[in-house]
Amino acid sequence: MTERVWGILVDSFPKLLKYGVEVTIPLTVLSFLLALLIALLVALIQYAHVKVLKELCRFYIWIVRGTPLLVQLYLVFYGLPSVGIVLDAFPAAVLVLGFNEGAYMAETMRGALESVSKGQLEAGYCVGMSYIQIMLHVVLPQAFRTAFPALGNSMIAMLKETSMAATITVMEMFRQAQVINGRVYESLALYGEVALIYLLFCTVLSWAQRFGEKRLATYGGGRI
């Protein structure tokens, strides 16, 4: 490796890391929280068989899972202004990423909810609890435990997908790499470097996922 390339790498590393920590990670966290909220709502509506809303939820999942993320980003950021809805790049990215991953996570949550035995609900009714009380104290904790590994995977996927936000002008880590590369023309080195930083972030996340899985209650061991 030439001295010039080495210099570029050393120079760009703190800059990339800064955008990673200050933009990519907040973008991931905010989008993930939004996705989690949507997933929970959509899964609960389906689990409880709420009329009309349930159909709406299936429609949402159908649309989101059937169209590419990139297209969704373009639609919202470049498309919506023509009907008067103008969003800044960052909130647009949070919205699209959240709604996108939310559809997948809703299916995860729905599966986890449905894996909780119906007997748990019946036992709850028989000791006098209401539907909502049973959901809060019995069904949701068990469903979250079941869904945790899959939700962790979703978060890791989302972290990488934030790089797509570069296409709608969000100045996040990958976009920053593109900008630097525009000056120095060292694609292999710079994109390799940014890939390594993503890898680092994802590795930390998967450690956290594994740690969380161990720490989370297993309710006396074994699968629930």
């Binding site: 748990q120 019946e122 000791v127 006098g128 009380q133 104290h137 019995v138 209650a217």
Partner: protein, 248 residues
């Protein structure tokens, strides 16, 4: 009369599961509900606690009538408050410890202070011999132990009657005894119980009344001594004989 059940009907799609069941229960009665599988025993029991909604039927509980088909949410809550239900496969809350399983209904549904609920739970668990396992989770217990905790959970709300839906059918043979002995103890203490069971010894020696069902109808009902010694109906005789033969 503590509990008067009249004309319970239930149909699942094209299958008529209950064709008008009647039953009178006095305080302190232990009623064994017998019958071949598919006779509607379990559905009958579940209808009494609104786990299944009957198509028709009436429940008169302490003189107060409840419509088994059209009961309001408040009515259902009132009935459930007076009763406890023990399931075939225990249905303990899997994310809760033994102690929490017994207190959850008290603290969450009954808004009872925790220390008071703990006291009640401890006493209930002592009655079933499970006070040593307060902090275990259901998955760490044997089936017999889980069923005893489930009985304690039922006792904690101080019910007037306990419904048992085949409480020993999911248990390994060597674990059945411990659950039956708890139930026998409850019967001795005067607890009113409705027990769907295949345990003939229990039906014969512990229960004082028998309701024998087949095909969604009552074939014969009456004092259990008479049922076993002088069954009136041909079908009852066949049933008792087949059970006795199966045991040999």
């Amino acid at each position: 009369m503590m509990l008067k059940i009249k004309n319970v009907h239930k149909r699942f799609e094209n299958l008529e599961v209950l064709r008008g069941i009647d039953l009178d229960v006095e305080k302190g009665d232990v009623v064994a509900i017998l019958g071949p599988s598919g006779s509607g025993k379990t559905t009958f029991l579940r209808c009494l606690n609104f786990l299944e909604r009957a198509d028709r039927g009436e429940l008169i509980f302490d003189g107060e009538p409840f419509d088994l088909h059209a009961a309001s949410r408040q009515d259902i809550a009132r009935v459930r408050k007076k009763t406890a239900f023990v399931f075939q496969n225990y249905n303990l809350f899997l994310n809760k410890t033994v102690l929490q399983n017994v207190t959850l209904g008290l603290t969450v549904a009954g808004r009872m202070p925790r220390h008071q609920a703990n006291d009640i739970a401890l006493r209930a668990l002592e009655r079933v011999g499970m006070a040593e396992k307060l902090n275990s989770f259901p998955s760490q217990l044997s089936g017999g132990q889980q069923q005893r905790v489930a009985i304690a959970r039922g006792l904690a709300s101080n019910p007037e009657i306990i419904y048992f839906d085949e409480p020993t059918s999911a248990l390994d043979p060597e674990l059945i005894g411990e659950v039956l002995s708890v139930m026998r103890q409850l019967a001795r203490e005067g607890m009113t119980m409705l027990v769907v069971t295949h345990e003939m010894d229990f039906a014969r020696h512990v229960s004082n009344k028998v309701l024998f069902m087949e095909g969604g109808s009552v074939v014969e009902s009456g004092p259990s001594g008479e049922f076993f010694s002088h069954p009136q109906q041909e079908r009852s005789r066949d049933f008792i004989r087949s059970i006795l033969e199966a045991r040999k």
